[in-house]
């Protein structure tokens, strides 16, 4: 082999980071608009968070404290893998405590603890186009966004109500940003949608395979699509968390035996542990 590979701080070269930061700035300037960017090939597969990783790599500084979650948990395999990647390539401090993190990279959840103005939430996005399953053509969906031609989006919701009596979208529930762009919030449960509205933290969304970046600047108005007489409803859980007793949080269903036994526990593991006083052993509960 000619030379052993040497990698830059946070893997990406500085030129690439600058290119991505320019795309981020544009995304912040036009909230909810999908900015095309020259997504790089990352050493993890497309669909596994390459968009989020590129965003994090581009904004990460030596003094940052990074938290990575997948499905709300810090210890799921892909979250571990991404956290390791940044520990190795950037040597930054990492944490599982939401309050301590300056950058939180997430897949499919927004932490339960409200975010603050000095934090950035980076979402991994598989399919950034909210209109994709109504209209497969990129050329057409871009046109639809440009012209605010969003009637079709409501036809889908109309069909849900006519069939089920209510809107039947439970995750990746589309939102409208500052009354302009319809945006895919990534596959977070619709339970998390209200947390995006007027959030104090900067929210960045990265889709690596699809080469798109979009953003919600702090304190941006984010409205979940609905009808006046069928307003958006948050998913409700009947019982509190089986471990910490929290209510009004998103719960994971754990199958405890093959006799129909179920346990509902916080999906946000840090939040749950915090309420239980951080049992650090994390073993048998």
């Amino acid at each position: 082999m000619s030379s052993a590979p040497v990698y830059n701080f946070a893997y990406l070269d500085e030129q690439t980071k600058r290119m991505i930061r320019r795309a981020i700035l544009k995304a912040i300037a036009v909230p909810g608009y999908q900015v095309p960017f020259a997504s790089r090939e990352m050493p993890m597969p497309y669909g596994w968070g390459t968009g989020g990783v590129q965003l994090t790599a581009s904004i990460l500084g030596a003094g940052d404290v990074l938290k990575v979650i997948d499905q709300g948990a810090d210890d799921t395999t892909n979250a571990v893998s991404i956290r390791k990647f940044f520990e190795k390539t950037a040597g930054v401090e990492t944490t599982s405590l939401t309050g301590d993190a300056t950058i939180i990279q997430t897949r499919h959840r927004i932490p339960e603890e409200p975010l603050t103005a000095d934090q950035i939430l980076v979402y991994q996005v598989p399919i950034p186009e909210p209109l994709r399953f109504l209209e497969p053509r990129e050329t057409e969906t871009r046109q639809m966004h440009a012209l605010q031609d969003y009637g079709l989006m409501h036809v889908k919701l109309y069909e849900d109500i006519s069939r089920h009596g209510h809107i039947a979208t439970t995750y990746a529930y589309p939102v409208k940003v500052e009354a302009r762009y319809v945006m895919d919030p990534s596959p977070i449960p619709k339970f998390d949608n209200p947390k995006m509205d007027m959030c104090s933290a900067l929210q960045l969304f990265g889709a690596g395979r699809e080469q798109r970046i979009y953003a919600l600047p702090p304190y941006t108005q984010v409205t979940s699509l609905d009808f006046e007489d069928h307003p958006f409803e948050r998913t409700k859980f009947e019982k509190p968390c089986g471990l910490c007793g929290a209510t009004g949080v998103y719960l994971d269903e754990i199958v405890t035996d093959d006799q129909g036994g179920r346990l509902f526990v916080c999906s946000d593991t840090d939040y749950c542990e915090g309420r239980r006083g951080h049992e650090t052993d994390g073993g048998v509960l």
Binding site: Q143, A146, L147, D149, Y150, G151, L152, H154, V155, Y158, E159, I161, S162, R163, D226, F227, E228, D229, H230
Partner: protein, 258 residues
Amino acid sequence: MTDAPLIQANGLTRYYGAHIGCLDVDLEVHEGEVLAIVGESGSGKSTLLSLLSTQLPPTRGEVSYRTRDGVSRDLLSLPEAERRFLFRTDWGFVHQDARAGLRMGVSAGGNVGERLMAVGWRHYGRIRDEATDWLARVEIKAERIDDSPKTFSGGMRQRLQIAKNMVTRPRLVFMDEPTGGLDVSVQARLLDLIRGLVSDYGLAAIVVTHDLAVARLLSHRIMVMRNGRVIETGLTDQVLDDPQEAYTQLLVSSILQS
């Protein structure tokens, strides 16, 4: 103000390669007026309809349309946003094949409601009421509102397509062989319906048909096309009762004989 034509075309021409699609067509349609464009297949009448409705760019010529603010606008230089807006508000387009004009995977109510939602209606109940109302006007029972058009007969689909277009009260409707492929009895009922809507709502319409009977029933004026050119034009009754051109005479007599 109402003296100005609603839609006007000058020198409208379209070539397909070396072949003439349609050549130097001038026309005017006023509010509330129905114009039939007749001819055999290949005469250029469908090309002309596509040109007028800006779905096909002309090789040369112009089309203008008087929007609701009373201003005549050049359609070819109209921004895409305004063009689309026209298409979902002020215009209708009834395709011969209803599948081209309907979303077959969406319920009848969703089909009729689409335009309303596109122009900003956000109250499910009101959208549904309006859809129910329009289904009734095209003689589709309210209980079919949640059914897919796939379960509809050809005549019902065509009536649904008309309701979908009419819900925003367009001023101009383009129709491409609206009764084509339907049984004679179904055709008659549909023609009655269209005639009623045209007079009730003061619709202007441009109807392409190869069927002179359809032209006679629906239209005030008629244009006869052959080989991409307009060869005769005039009041429908006059042209059909006393055709001047040999070709029109042939067309009329062949209908009478059949």
